[in-house]
């Protein structure tokens, strides 16, 4: 049995006929060819596969592609605007928030969800928000610093825009 789905990924519609059991992460990686989203455990434990579904962070290894039908997904490939990195990407780069990079896409997307809800989180709030995302290399300290760095940058940009108006 196959089902037709249309999933809007990073602003682009992907129409495909898929098995109802196909996981969203496999749709992203195998069907849409977007391999920036990683699979670390397939059991919702590690968070490497985190993407935004209608703006909210979900672990795409435990969402079916058919559940995302007609909805919008943002992956790590959709964070930057052309050559302009997202403030979170800049933050991770500047604060050495990654080493092997495998958990990084999930960390970025999860932090994106946090900053949308809470633009100026404390360290404790950041740690709480990313507690479903596992990193084996960094020890988290620099990831927390990276999210704070992004938060500061975004606040500055918001106030600059407000000033311009």
């Amino acid at each position: 049995m196959q089902k037709n789905v249309t999933i809007h990924i990073n602003g682009q519609a992907h129409r495909h006929s898929v098995e109802p059991r196909l996981l969203l992460v496999h749709f992203l990686r195998e069907v849409a060819g977007l391999t920036g989203t990683h699979i670390g455990c397939e059991t919702s434990l590690c968070g490497a596969c985190t993407v935004l579904l209608d703006g909210r962070a979900v672990k795409s290894c435990t969402v079916l592609a058919v559940q995302a039908d007609g909805r919008s997904v943002t992956t790590v490939e959709g964070l930057a605007q052309g050559d302009k990195l997202h403030a979170l990407q800049e933050g991770f780069w500047e604060e050495h928030g990654l080493q092997c990079g495998f958990c990084t896409p999930g960390m970025l997307m999860c932090s994106h969800d946090l900053l949308a809800k809470n633009p100026a989180p404390t360290s404790a709030e950041i740690r709480e928000a990313i507690n479903g995302n596992v990193c084996r290399c960094t020890g988290y300290q620099n990831i927390v610093a990276a999210v704070k760095n992004a938060s500061r940058k975004m606040a500055k940009r918001v106030s600059a825009r407000a000033g311009a108006r």
Binding site: G40, A48, T75, W93, Q99
Partner: protein, 624 residues
């Protein structure tokens, strides 16, 4: 490049400090933060097939039947393989040779018996990976359960079931390291302190599970294997032996690798089978490990039981140390399995002056996944052993644990200091180091706080530990199996620089650190340095990244000397490695286009000796 016009000596002195030590944004990060990097499982080749495994749900059992018909009949399945199908595929290798070592046959798929939970019994190849996994689950295996051996101490008892019957024992090896008069040490002792200690088993758990992709092109006789590995060249050698191709026909590529922690410093069943399948089927084949497979079938670490006895004088002076180690090998030997507890023996004296030592190790087979190198590989186990017995001894003597350690450090004037296990420590001032650590931690006030706490029913723990580690695993008397490293610095016609390194970073950021070192050496911007690693067709034979070795080893191996032979202590590389060659003005010898940095001197083995084995090879567009 702007500084090129300045006087050579001045330029070098100034440049040495330009890039090394400077906070730089990593060169590898843009691809990692934008999702444009490629780990093995991200790769897809035309006509690629997917592989999945049927693994044992039992730790020890006879296989009485395997039924594959249903799996074979599933549309999309290309092949189903069990052990008897694997003609021409060799065993999983163990690189360790030692007298009396029992090396069990380690076939790629289980034959007759399974010996640990997760051992692969059958492999399926299919057009897509959902089908491959479905088919793997449709394979029916009949198991006759056998008694399971999980406890090392019981495994050595006479009535224990035996895992590899032809050895008639679960003992894999015995190994002894003795020095000094241990008997008289214990005879003269005022006090003997004993403790049993367990270094528990653990799973390394890199965030990226393992993955293997292989493609064979018969016209070129070229087998290309992409693998999540820390050791592409060593893997190439072993794959060529396993599949029966000349090593020159095998290319291994370690693309982006998502962490290793020692678990990818190995050669696994899948790294033999997936290439064999690709050759047999004439199509690329990929296997990506699930996390469940990773936990059950990728190597584990530690798992030793240790009995320590410390012979002491009343005043706290150590006379001798006796150590008995039981080391769990698991069911089979992986690449370095029997070596790991020997590293424990080598480091067992820690930072201390111990006149006599007697270490006995027994390797034991159990029905578990193999142990092997995991973060420190044997050396943290040694530190736990010695530091814990030091703590127990101080407690029993009623001495302060820091004071007790101070009493047993070698004096600064004794360096280079040869430990009782035969290692040479080139330099140290342990007394100063521990005093500084006590000062920084506010040790006295912590102790006061602890005492006051007791009065109010509050308990504070205060721990003291010291640590020294043998790292980098270069060629030396202490690590005869250790590796040199290779590096090439090539100046291209446009002036851009290509660095080829035998190291194989998987999160260490060596594309950046190596670029910094070379930029300082050549007086250019790190942006102009491209570091290539992990491709055996591009890079000269190397050893890989593990054991804190790659960045420490680089100063030698990828650094160009200038023509005056001034490559010594002023080099940024040596400063970065925090090792200095001795003597400090090494002699450079030009041999054709290869420059060897040679150590002259007393012939002793120094901690940094590996550096002196390195070479910097200058390509045809030389600046010299």
């Amino acid at each position: 490049m702007a500084q090129n016009g300045k006087a050579n000596g001045k330029r070098k002195a100034k440049l040495a400090a330009v890039w090394v030590g400077k906070k730089l944004k990593r060169k590898e990060d843009p691809r990692l933060i934008q999702g444009t990097s490629h780990y093995t499982d991200d790769l897809k080749l035309p006509r690629m097939l997917y592989c999945a495994f049927t693994r044992s749900p039992m730790a020890h059992a006879e296989i009485s039947a395997i039924r594959t018909d249903a799996a074979r009949a599933l549309p999309g399945v290309v092949g189903v393989y069990t052990s008897e199908d694997l003609t021409g595929l060799g065993m999983v290798p163990c690189a360790i040779q030692m007298p009396g070592l029992n090396v069990p046959p380690h076939p790629v798929l289980a034959t007759e018996r399974v010996r640990y939970l997760g051992e692969p019994v059958a492999a399926v190849v299919a057009e897509d990976f959902y089908t491959a996994r479905d088919a793997a689950e449709m394979i029916e295996v009949d198991y006759e359960p056998l008694p399971v051996v999980v406890n090392m101490e019981k495994a050595l008892e006479k009535d224990s079931p035996v895992i590899h019957q032809h050895f008639k024992t679960n003992r894999a090896f015995t190994h002894a390291l003795k020095n000094g008069d241990i008997q008289s040490a214990f005879k003269k002792a005022d006090r003997v302190v004993k403790q049993r200690m367990v270094n528990q088993r653990l799973a390394p758990m890199a965030m990226e599970p393992r993955a293997v992709l292989a493609e064979y092109l018969p016209g070129e006789n070229r087998l290309t294997v992409w693998s999540a590995t820390q050791i592409p060249h060593l893997l190439r050698t072993q794959i060529s032996v396993m599949v029966g191709l000349p090593e020159t026909a095998v290319r291994v590529i370690a693309p982006e690798v998502g962490g290793g922690f020692g678990s990818k410093l190995n050669v696994y069943r899948e790294e033999g089978l997936v290439p064999w399948l690709a050759m047999k089927l004439g199509r690329p084949v990929k296997w990506a490990e699930t996390r469940r497979e990773n936990i059950t079938s990728t190597i584990h670490g530690r798992d030793t039981i240790n009995h320590l006895e410390l012979a002491l004088k009343k005043d706290g002076k150590i006379l001798g140390l006796r150590v008995r180690i039981l080391a769990d090998m698991g069911a089979y030997h992986q690449l370095l399995t029997p070596l790991i507890p020997q590293l424990t023996a080598l480091m067992q004296a820690g930072c201390y002056k111990i006149p006599a030592i007697d270490i006995g190790i027994q390797g034991v087979f159990t029905n578990k996944m193999s142990t092997d190198a995991y973060r420190g590989a044997g050396r943290p186990e040694a530190t736990y052993n010695i530091e814990r017995i030091m703590g127990v001894a101080a407690h029993e003597l009623g001495m302060d644990p820091a004071e007790f350690r101070l009493k047993n450090f070698p004096q600064p004037k004794e360096f280079p200091f040869t430990t009782v296990t035969g290692l040479v420590y080139d330099s140290a001032k342990y007394q100063e180091s521990i005093k500084r650590a006590l000062e920084l931690s506010g040790y006295d006030s912590l102790r006061r706080r602890q005492k006051n706490g007791w009065k109010n029913g509050k308990y504070y723990g205060v721990g003291v530990s010291t640590y020294v580690e043998i790292c980098a695993i270069g060629p030396s008397a202490a690590t005869p199996a250790g590796g040199w490293e290779s590096g090439t610095v090539r100046i291209e016609p446009t002036g851009k620089v290509t660095v080829l390194t035998g190291a194989s970073p998987h999160g260490q950021g060596q594309e950046t650190t190596f670029a910094q070192l070379i930029a300082d050496e050549l007086g250019i911007d790190p942006e102009d340095v491209n570091v290539i690693h992990g491709d055996t067709l591009a890079v000269p034979y190397g050893i890989g990244t593990f054991g804190s070795r790659a960045t420490a080893g680089l100063p030698g191996h990828a650094k160009a000397e200038n023509k005056d032979g001034d490559a010594g202590s002023s080099s940024a590389g040596y400063q970065a490695s925090r090792h200095h060659l001795r003597p400090r003005t090494p002699e450079c010898q030009r041999r054709q286009e290869v420059y060897f940095l040679r150590r002259t001197g007393d012939g002793r083995v120094h901690g940094a000796q590996y550096s002196s084995w390195i070479r910097a090879r200058i390509g045809s567009h030389t600046l010299l």
